[in-house]
C-alpha cells in the first residue's frame, strides 16, 4: 500500500499511509483512538473510497475495486462491533459470508470446519445471532469472514468489550487461522495482546505511520507507549 489518503468530508482520516504486508504474516496496527486504524482497514477492504494513493494485493492494483470484487479476490474484513445480522440464525449469518463465488462450492465443508473448532456455534446454529453473547458474536463474525476462504483477513477490534478469557480463545483461533495460511492484519485497542500475536506492527498517529518494526520491539519500547498508545503500562 502506497501513500494512501482517505478523507471524510473536511476531515482527513489518513494522510499518506504506506505499509507492506507479506504473505503469511500477522501484522498489528496500533495507535490511539482516532488515529485512523479502522479507516485503514476499511480502505483496504474497499468499504471507504481512497482519495489518493494505491493499494496492491497479490501484485495487482486493487484500490477502487468494489467490496464484492475484493472479497472475490481473497480479502475479507471482520468489522468492529461484529455487524452481524441480528434476526438471522448463526448458520445463515455464516452462510452470508459465502454468497459470492469464492468459497460457495465448499460452503458446507467450511461451515463444518468452523463448527468443529467452535462447538458452541454448532449447538446454537439455529439461534438468532442477536441473542448471542459478545464473545459468541465475535466468533460468528470471524467465521463469516472465513466462509469466503480469504487469503488476507482484516480484523477490526476483535476483543472489544469481551472478557479476557474469551479474548484469549479468539486470539488463539486467529493464530491457528494464520498458521493454516491466511495473512492477518489486526487493529486492536488491546495493544499488549495484539503485539504478542503479531510478528510485525505499525504505529499510527493522526493518520500517519509514526513507527514500524518487529512487534516485540514495539511492545518493549517505552517511548512509543508513552507518546502514542496512551501511556499506560500493560
Amino acid at each position: 500500500m502506497r501513500d494512501l489518503r482517505v478523507s471524510y468530508g473536511e476531515f482527513a482520516a489518513l494522510q499518506g499511509v504506506s505499509l507492506d504486508v507479506e504473505s503469511g504474516e500477522i501484522v498489528a496496527i496500533v495507535g490511539a483512538n482516532g488515529a485512523g486504524k479502522s479507516t485503514l482497514l476499511k480502505a483496504i477492504a474497499g468499504l471507504v473510497p481512497a482519495r489518493a494513493g494505491t493499494i496492491a494485493f497479490d501484485g495487482r492494483r486493487c484500490d477502487g475495486c468494489s467490496p464484492r470484487t475484493l472479497v472475490e479476490r481473497g480479502i475479507a474484513m471482520t468489522l468492529e462491533g461484529r455487524q452481524l445480522f441480528p434476526e438471522m440464525t448463526i448458520e445463515d449469518n455464516l452462510l452470508a459470508g459465502a454468497e459470492i463465488r469464492r468459497g460457495r462450492g465448499r460452503a458446507k465443508a467450511n461451515l463444518a470446519a468452523i463448527y468443529d473448532r467452535l462447538s458452541v456455534l454448532r449447538e446454537r446454529r439455529h439461534q438468532l445471532a442477536g441473542t448471542l453473547s459478545g464473545g459468541e458474536q465475535q466468533m460468528v463474525a470471524i467465521g463469516r469472514s472465513l466462509m469466503s476462504e480469504p487469503a488476507l483477513l482484516l480484523l477490526d477490534e476483535p476483543s472489544l468489550g469481551l472478557a479476557p478469557r474469551i479474548v484469549g480463545r479468539i486470539f488463539e483461533w486467529v493464530r491457528d487461522i494464520n498458521r493454516a495460511g491466511t495473512t492477518v492484519v489486526i487493529v486492536e485497542q488491546n495493544i499488549a495482546a495484539s503485539l504478542a500475536l503479531a510478528s510485525r506492527a505499525y504505529v499510527l498517529a493522526e493518520g500517519r505511520v509514526v513507527m514500524a518494526g518487529i512487534a516485540a520491539d514495539i511492545a518493549r519500547d517505552e517511548g512509543v507507549r508513552v507518546a502514542y498508545l496512551g501511556g499506560a503500562a500493560p
Partner: protein, 291 residues
Amino acid sequence: MHPELAAQLTVDGLLLGGVFALAALGLNVIFGVTRIVNLAHGEIIVLAALCAAVVFQRFGITPIELLPAEFIAGALLGAILERLVFRRLPPDPAGAETTSLLLAFGVAYFIVGFSLAVFTGDFRSVAYLTSSWQLGPISVGQSRFVAFVAALAIAGALAVLLRSTALGRGLRAASQNVEGARACGIDIGRMRTISFALGSGVAAAAGGLVSMIYAVNPDSGSQLTLLAFSVVALGGLGSYAGTLIGAAILGVAVSFGGFLGSAQIGQLIPYVIFIAVLLFRPSGILGKSAT
C-alpha cells in the same frame, strides 16, 4: 348481532385479508432493504388491477391465468423505478428519507396520470367466478376465496424465497446490516434493485387479485397504499407473521365496518386503525418495542 351474520362478516373479512397481506408484504420487502417508503405502491396495485380488467374484457384471460405475467411486468416496473429514479437519491441518509418520500409521491402521481390517460377514470373490475358456495349458513364468494388462496400461495412462495434461498439470505442480510452485508461481498445496489422488483411484482400480483374483489379506477391507488400501510403498522415493520395477522384484523374490521355503518364508513376503518396504532402502539401488535 346475529351470530351467523357475525360469522359471515368474519369469513368475508378474513378472505379479504389475504389480498391485503400480499399488498403489505410487497411494501415490507422494499422498505426492509431500501428504507424507502414507497408511496407509489398502491398505484402499482391499481395499474395491475386495471390491466387485469381490460385483458379479461378483451381476451377473456382470467386474472388468475394472468398472474405470472402481472408479476413479471410489476417486477420489471419496480426494477426500472429503482434504477431510474430511486437510485439517484443523495447518498446522505438523513436527507434521503425526505427526498425519497417526495420522489415516491411524484412517481405515484405519474402512474395515476398515465393510468387515467390509458384507462380513463372508469371504475373497472373483473366479473369472474361471481357465484358463491353455501357452507351451512355462510356463503363464500368464489372470487374472494380463489383470490385468498392465490394470495396465500404467493405469500408462501415469497416466504420460501426469503428464508431458504441464497438470494433471500442476501436480501435479509442487506436489510439487517448494510455494512456487514458489504463486508460479505453482498452487492447492496443489486439487492435494492431486486427488492424493488420483488416488492412491485408482488404488488402487481395483488392488483390482479384485487380486480376480482373490488372495482377500481386510477384514483384508487392512495387508498390501497394506506391499506397496505395500515397492515404494516398493525403487524410491525419487517415481521412476516405480523403482516399476516395485521391483514386478517384489518380485513375483518373493514368487513364489519362496511356492514354496521355503510360502505363509506367501512372505508374509513383502515385510516382510524392506522392512526390509532401509530399513536398507541407504534411498533405494531407483534413488533418489538422501538429501540
